[in-house]
């Protein structure tokens, strides 16, 4: 497991290569990249600032990955989240999950993103033509995170 919070950009090919090294049992790699969009809720965004809670962010991300590792058969996982000032089209977050089989890789990758979106202490502030605004959390993200909890409960 590799969890990083950083201002620097990342490269998905390099991260996948690092994750795979020496493990030819990996048959499936699912990944996700989150990007800064130039529009949000109908307004143009010129700068996106990511604030975080140093210490807790790393801890929350490691906890989210541990939950995924307990739930699916994983052969490696990398999570990188950027902080600081970003521009439209910049990369924000990377999640890479390796497994022998694709269902595990896909499910764990989606689970990690859903939990990250609701449990990891990052906050986005957008600078738009009409001024600064903090991005509101979405009920759809809470619902997305909830379905994993409900799925687990249903299996017990």
């Amino acid at each position: 497991m590799k969890v990083r919070v950083q201002a620097e950009d990342f490269d998905i090919s390099r991260e996948i290569a690092a994750l795979r090294t020496g493990n030819a049992g990996i048959g499936a790699i699912a990944s996700f990249i989150g990007l800064v969009r130039d529009m949000n809720d109908g307004t143009g965004v010129s700068t996106m600032t990511l604030e975080h809670y140093p210490g807790m962010t790393e801890k929350a991300l490691a906890d989210i990955v541990s939950q995924a590792e307990a739930r699916w058969e994983l052969l490696g996982c990398t999570v990188i989240h950027r902080v600081g000032e970003l521009k439209p089209a910049d990369q924000i977050v990377l999640v890479v999950v390796a497994s022998a089989h694709r269902l595990h890789a896909f499910q764990a990758c989606e689970f990690i993103m859903d939990y990250l979106k609701t449990q990891a202490p990052f906050w986005k502030k957008e600078l738009t033509a009409v001024g600064e605004r903090w991005v509101d959390s979405r009920e759809s993200d809470d619902a997305a995170a909830r379905r994993w909890w409900e799925q687990k409960k249903a299996q017990q």
Binding site: H81, T118, A120, P121, F122, W123, W134, D136
Partner: protein, 83 residues
């Protein structure tokens, strides 16, 4: 003492990022929030029941009845919006 942190829109609205506060007599998250709400209208409103804020104690998500003791780090912040 407790180390109390505020983040994002709450930090901006309350004008404070970090402060030290004595452990309240009612030594729970709810007890601390009661004390903060007495600081004035802005605090009472920002931290009102039913408002969308979250609390972490020692960097783990916490509930109203989570116990507090001297040396704890308590963070109060709006719902997260990373990713």
């Amino acid at each position: 003492m407790l180390k109390v942190l505020f983040f994002a829109s709450l930090r901006e609205r309350l004008g404070v990022g970090e402060e030290s506060i004595p452990v309240p007599a009612m030594a729970t998250v709810a007890g601390l929030l009661n004390i903060l709400r007495q600081r004035g209208e802005d605090w009472a409103d920002a931290l009102a029941e039913g408002k969308r804020w979250r609390v972490a104690v020692n960097q783990d998500m916490a509930q109203a009845d989570t116990a507090l003791k001297a040396g704890d780090e308590v963070a109060i912040f709006p719902p997260v919006t990373g990713g």
